[in-house]
């Protein structure tokens, strides 16, 4: 290996850590964390990446790095093999820290930094003590049942926009639930932000560091959002029961709808992560796709074997729910567009009549124009959303069923 005598080993930027990873696979898997990226591999590869990524490895020669490798592992490969492996994979190894984040959440903007979240999470940690955790769920459930029984006792009609603001605050608390659970279990978190997922604006909690946890702890991180939102919902329920305030009633309805939506595993909301973690399966969408491809492409004998696996139940159930859900969304959106298009002529007539009659622009004419414009823009945006949702759904289906 003279050709590398003057060559430094590959340098891996970013913090590198490795840990045994518990998963359903028959073979032992190891987690390699490089910065915010996480990879699964075998033990031998993980150990080599760790020794190359150690801060003291930077600027050292192959023989010095190999010495560290030999001390760290029980059965090191010979130096020629080690160097050959490093050189063959140099480009890939040096690019690990910059691995492309393929998450579909676009236009991300951080709202609260990791350090700020760490400080707040430290104060909320007690909410995840098992006794508190159980009592809060029970209290929230009981309050919701009482509220359902007494749902007709509202004394005021309520203000929708104020209620929407209360629900929005609930979403923010929801993200703190994920962050707090992540910090409590000793994993790194990256703060709270806002982004655009498919066609929906969304708050997110960066809990990428959660991969270092066991699958039950990861499930608790995934459930943490709904847990915090349930505490908030229970509080609003209690005040609503005491006061009969209609605004709180609307806020409860919105929050409940949000919480049910986030349980949906078809998109990568909490339901997806909860299902992945409870099943202890990584990259669930990809695995479901691969399994369906294998089912469709395999011969009779192999298909028979595959059909009797747990993943078949998960994949087929998931595919049916996904198709039904996307069709439901598209049908609902098309119906809304049709309804709004039907309103446009009357709104336009009112607006043009108000203008013809020289009504004040900051009065009736302005309101009529605003109604027409907002409805028109709504129709345009919703039509675009239908196109995006339809296109991306077809692309996803194509990825699952057509590509090798």
């Amino acid at each position: 290996m003279e050709f590398v005598s003057n060559t430094l080993p590959p340098r891996i930027a970013g913090d590198v850590a490795i840990a045994r990873f518990s998963c359903q696979e028959a073979s032992e898997k190891w987690l390699v964390s490089v910065g915010h990226s996480h990879f699964l591999t075998d033990r031998s590869t993980a150990e080599k990446v760790l020794v190359l990524g150690a801060s003291e490895a930077a600027g050292r020669t192959y023989s010095e790095v190999y010495d560290a490798y030999r001390k760290a592992v029980s059965e090191p490969e010979v130096i020629e093999h080690f160097i050959g492996w490093c050189e063959k994979n140099r480009t890939q190894l040096e690019g690990l820290a910059g691995a492309v984040d393929t998450h579909e959440l676009r236009c991300r903007h951080l709202l609260l930094s990791a350090s700020a979240c760490d400080r707040i999470a430290a104060r909320l940690d007690w909410l995840f003590r098992p006794s508190v955790f159980a009592m809060v769920w029970i209290a929230a459930f009981v309050l919701m049942v009482i509220r359902t029984i007494h749902r007709d006792l509202h004394t005021s009609p309520g203000n929708f926009w104020l209620a929407a603001g209360l629900a929005l605050f609930g979403i923010f608390l929801h993200e703190f639930g994920h962050i707090t659970a992540c910090v409590r279990h000793g994993a790194r978190q990256g703060g709270i932000g806002i982004g655009l997922y498919w066609i929906w604006p969304a708050f997110y909690a960066d809990v990428r560091g959660g991969w270092v946890l066991g699958h039950i702890e990861r499930a608790l991180v995934s459930l943490g959002g709904l847990y915090f939102q349930s505490i908030y919902l229970a509080t609003i329920c209690a005040v609503e029961l005491a006061t009969g305030d209609g605004t709180l009633s609307i806020a409860i309805s919105i929050s409940t709808l949000l919480m049910l939506t986030t349980l949906n595993p078809v998109f990568k909301y909490d339901g997806y992560w909860i299902l992945s973690d409870l099943l202890n399966v990584t990259n669930l969408h990809t695995r479901i796709g691969s399994h369906l491809q294998a089912l469709l492409a395999s011969d009779k004998v192999m298909r028979g074997r595959l059909l009797h696996t747990r993943m078949t139940g998960v994949a087929v159930g998931f595919a049916l729910v996904a198709i039904a859900y996307v069709l439901y969304l598209l049908e609902m959106m098309l119906r809304m567009v049709a309804g709004e298009v039907g309103r446009l002529p009357a709104l336009w007539f009112n607006a043009s009549r108000a203008i013809d009659r020289h009504l004040p622009i900051f009065g009736e004419a302005g309101v009529s124009i605003a109604r027409f414009s907002s409805t028109l823009f709504g129709v345009i945006f919703l039509s675009l959303a239908i196109c995006v949702l339809g296109y991306r759904s077809l692309r996803s289906a194509q990825t699952v069923l057509v590509q090798p």
């Binding site: 915010h36 996480h38 990879f39 699964l40 591999t41 031998s44 590869t45 050959g84 492996w85 063959k88 994979n89 890939q92 691995a99 393929t102 998450h103 959440l105 929708f160 929407a164 629900a167 929005l168 979403i171 993200e175 994920h178 806002i194 997922y197 066609i199 929906w200 604006p201 969304a202 708050f203 997110y204 909690a205 960066d206 809990v207 990428r208 959660g210 991969w211 991180v221 995934s222 959002g225 609307i250 919105i254 939506t261 986030t262 990568k268 909301y269 992560w273 990584t282 990259n283 969408h285 609902m332 809304m336 709004e340 109604r371 907002s374 409805t375 709504g378 945006f381 919703l382 959303a385």
Partner: protein, 39 residues
């Protein structure tokens, strides 16, 4: 070169846990008026 010389890493998807801001999951950009009407 043998099989151990190939770097085999499965990248894990980013854990960004989200909740949508829209209460109408199907139509986040419905006109203001429609939101109020639907409520």
């Amino acid at each position: 070169m043998n099989e151990h010389e190939t770097l085999s890493l499965e990248i894990l998807e980013s854990r960004l846990e989200m909740e949508t801001i829209s209460s109408q999951a199907a139509a986040p950009w419905l006109p203001i008026e429609c939101w109020c009407d639907n409520k």
